[in-house]
């Protein structure tokens, strides 16, 4: 005779009587489904073929030094239906789950592959689907899905960073057009972009959040001037864009007039995930482990140093912790939640650990750690120094980590806003 289940007793004892739970077949929890694993493998195979041999190159599409490769991979992803797989079928996507989208982002970043077109596919496309007119969707979504048009994002201004709602770029009503005047800054890829989606002030008399609109601007319009900004790593990745009485057709307004804050913030919800950083961190750590475990007898000695071993093990732990947070965000999205606080947590954790891995890489390389890329006798091609300098931006961009912590405290923990 079979004994009654102990949990049955547990249920009775605590007077939370429900039907006796049947033995739950082990559900898949901390691993991928077969479909997800297959997709990961197929994407990996595609990237193996598309990326040059021994590719260690820049991971970020906003870097300018491999633009042709960026375009080639973007095209390849579009041809395979992966570029906008997260989109609904009617816009050329395949309605893939947030989990699949996160696997896509992770695999791309882990292989340091450019070409996923964050601005078009992840940020502006979904915004258009939600707020755009039918005409706008027809006109622009297809070209994003086919990888034809490059978008850039015009939000930050010289005097409006974290306090974005204070933005001053004006769009004045002039019959069929807006006349746009002002300056956008930190604009990644402006010099490569065909179009910009930007926040402009359309009602200067309303409170800051109320008088903003989101419009689309052709970067070839007369009066648009692009000034490159070279970042501290020596890379041209972003720009200052000056608008001098640029005429923009009113049909380029997305959503309602003066509702741009709400429309524009949708973008940021798509932007704020840490998965890229968690994957880059994993790739960088593995590169370091390979390096210290290599055949060079002098370098090899480092890998048996207890402090080095301990530090590398800790970094691996922290990376996995950040990675699981990103997949938690995806899982919650799949459950229909909008995990705003969790997304912020993942962004803080992942950018933080990535910069730590890069810091440690530079440190581990010792005297060689501070050789510039291209120097004679550099180790790992000076990549760790360059990446460390470049990804100083991680904890700053897409909402500084301090702003993210405010979001976590206020939206996640329910603490009062000052």
């Amino acid at each position: 005779m079979k004994k009654p289940s102990r949990v049955y007793q547990l249920v009775i004892d605590t007077r939370l009587v429900r039907s006796t739970p049947a033995w739950n077949p082990q559900i898949l929890r901390f691993e991928f489904t077969a479909e997800e694993s297959n997709f990961k493998r197929d994407l990996g195979t595609f990237l193996d073929n598309a990326l040059p041999d021994d590719w260690q190159g820049p991971a970020d599409e906003s870097r300018d030094d491999h633009w042709d490769l960026n375009q080639k991979i973007k095209q390849g992803l579009a041809d395979r239906g992966w570029l906008v797989m997260s989109w609904p079928k009617k816009y050329g996507g395949s309605d893939s789950s947030p989990m699949m989208n996160t696997i896509f982002a992770e695999e791309m970043a882990y292989r340091r592959a450019p070409g996923h077109d964050r601005f078009g596919t992840r940020m502006f496309g979904p915004t258009l689907m939600r707020f755009g007119s039918e005409d706008q969707r027809v006109k622009y979504l297809g070209s994003i899905a086919r990888g034809e048009i490059q978008w850039c994002q015009g939000y930050s201004e010289p005097n409006s960073g974290s306090d974005l709602a204070s933005l001053q770029t004006r769009a004045i009503d002039s019959g069929d057009n807006f006349i746009v005047t002002g300056t956008k800054i930190w604009t990644s890829l402006a010099h490569r972009a065909d179009m910009m989606f930007m926040l402009v002030r359309t009602d200067p008399d309303s409170p800051p959040h109320k008088g903003i609109s989101l419009i689309m601007v052709d970067m070839k319009s007369p009066g648009v001037e692009i000034q490159p900004i070279i970042n501290m790593a020596g890379v041209h990745s972003f720009n200052q864009v000056i608008f001098n009485e640029v005429s923009v057709p009113k049909e380029n307004l997305v959503g309602d007039l003066n509702d741009g804050w709400r429309v524009g913030m949708t973008v940021l919800n798509f932007e704020r995930s840490g998965i890229d950083y968690a994957a880059w961190a994993r790739a960088a750590l593995e590169e370091l482990i390979d390096y210290v475990s290599g055949s060079d007898p002098i370098i090899g000695a480092i890998s048996s140093d207890p402090i080095v071993r301990s530090n590398l093990a800790k970094l691996k732990t922290e990376i996995e912790a950040a990675r699981l947070m990103c997949f938690d965000v995806a899982w919650r999205q799949g459950q229909g939640e909008i995990p705003s606080s969790e997304a912020s947590m993942s962004k803080v954790a992942a950018t933080d650990i990535y910069t730590k891995v890069l810091d440690y890489g530079v440190e581990l390389l010792g005297m060689y750690g501070v050789l510039e890329p291209g120097s004679t006798q550099s180790e790992l091609e000076g990549r760790f120094l360059k990446m460390r300098l470049f990804y100083t931006s991680g904890p700053i961009l897409a909402g500084t980590n301090e702003i993210q912590k405010n979001i976590i405290a206020q939206r996640g923990l329910g603490l009062p806003r000052k």
Binding site: K3, S5, R6, V7, Q9, L10, V11, D13, T14, R15, L16, W23, N24, Q26, I27, L28, R29, F30, E31, F32, I289, V292, S293, S303, S304, P306, V308, R309, S310, L312, A313, K314, K316, T317, E320, A321, A322, L324, M325, F327, D328, A330, W331, R332, Q335, E342, M345, V348, A349, E402, K405, N406, I408, A409, Q410, L413, G414, L415, P416, K418
Partner: protein, 372 residues
């Protein structure tokens, strides 16, 4: 990946919360910490009635036959309430008996663990204070079909409640072995209580020519080494799950304090300096939770992932004690008092971070696993 709970797990969580709210409160914890073992034994008895210690023991041995993941959900709640009971000791020793014990040993011991007649407690650490078992010195000399055991184990939790030690020993031929040794009123066994920050009974045990049947041996040689590694990993993950719950509880308490405590005419929780502390605590607590459950998930009746187990224990050990210190900072002077309960959590976090291998222990082993 699925971060949700199964229906069973939801039920375990709700039932546990309901029960522990009243049964494992500040009064109980303080009472046990001050040496009142009756309170402990009463609470443990209630849990035995609920079937919790038998949660992962297969049904054929009188248990509920649930998974390690299910156990982790329960442990989170036990951690959040600092329940002063030998649940981890009982669960992981039963897990090891099930995985490594002979059929006769399993059918003899496991039903008695389920019923509470036997309580095994891991007895691994010796004078060195290390969980590294390569230096085991407790020696067993063969005498007919018996072993004669002499030596000392330290940091044995709940030894005063346990009936048996699950101990590492060294055989005549130098081989390590894992064995059960009766310690409850046993001849030649002497216990000395250690005054431990955990606030639960912890002892050192000396064995003076203790005679134990050879049949009590669970594994020898490399199998014993593997079994002990698994015991430590399972214990580490169990502690990580408890620490995840503990961290969540401390976070909740601190958020609530910050939202209510007013200075300069407003809640201190409206200040960014305080908010950022709390946001970092929230991140840490979530990370430990994910790693603990990811590791627990890897434990199946076919094996487990050491990498995941190590990561869970490393993160739990480092992050949750740090979280507690930050909680003290947020509480200001009141959190520095004996009267306030916060230090009960901090004390337990300090104890649990050292159990089953501290962060350095697991970093070193993880580095091995990473091929370094």
């Amino acid at each position: 990946m699925d971060f949700g709970l199964t229906e069973t797990q939801e039920l375990i969580r709700r039932s546990a919360r309901e029960f522990l709210k009243d049964e494992s409160n500040s009064e109980t914890i303080r009472s046990v910490a001050s040496g009142n073992h009756d309170a402990l034994e009463k609470l443990w008895k209630r849990m035995l009635e609920l079937g919790w210690p038998a949660l992962i023991i297969p049904e054929e041995f009188g248990g509920a036959g649930f998974s390690f993941s299910d156990l982790a959900v329960l442990l989170e709640e036990l951690g959040a309430t600092l329940a002063p009971v030998p649940i981890v000791e009982s669960a992981i020793t039963s897990w090891i008996i099930e995985r490594y014990g002979s059929e006769s040993m399993k059918s003899e011991i496991l039903p008695q663990i389920s019923s509470g007649d036997i309580l095994l407690t891991p007895s691994i650490v010796e004078r060195s204070g290390s969980w590294d078992t390569s230096s085991t010195t407790v020696a067993a000399t063969k005498s007919g079909t018996n072993l004669v055991i002499t030596g000392e184990k330290r940091f044995v939790a709940f030894a005063q409640q346990a009936t048996h030690a699950l101990a590492t020993i060294r055989l005549d031929d130098g081989q390590p072995a894992l064995i059960t040794i009766p310690i409850w009123k046993a001849t030649g066994v002497h216990q000395t209580p250690m005054d431990h920050v955990a606030g639960v009974p912890v002892s050192s045990i000396t064995f003076n020519e203790v005679v134990v049947p050879e049949a009590n041996i669970i594994a020898t040689g490399n199998t014993a080494i593997k079994a002990v590694e698994e015991l430590i990993s399972a214990g580490g993950v169990a502690r990580a799950a408890q620490l995840a719950g503990l961290g969540r509880a401390v976070l909740d308490t601190t958020v609530s304090y910050a939202a209510n405590r007013e200075q300069f005419g407003q809640p201190i929780g409206s200040f960014q300096a305080v908010q950022h502390h709390l946001a970092e605590m929230a991140i840490a607590s979530k990370q430990v939770n994910h790693l603990a459950h990811s590791a627990a998930y890897s434990f199946s009746r076919d094996g487990y992932s050491y990498e995941r187990a190590a990561q869970a224990k490393i993160a739990a050990s480092e992050k949750i004690s740090a979280l507690c210190w930050t909680a003290h900072q947020c509480h200001g002077a009141i959190g520095f008092t004996w009267e306030h309960d916060l230090h009960l959590y901090t004390r337990r976090a300090l104890a649990w971070k050292t159990d089953y291998g501290d962060a350095n222990f697991h970093k070193s082993n993880l580095a091995d696993a990473m091929g370094l």
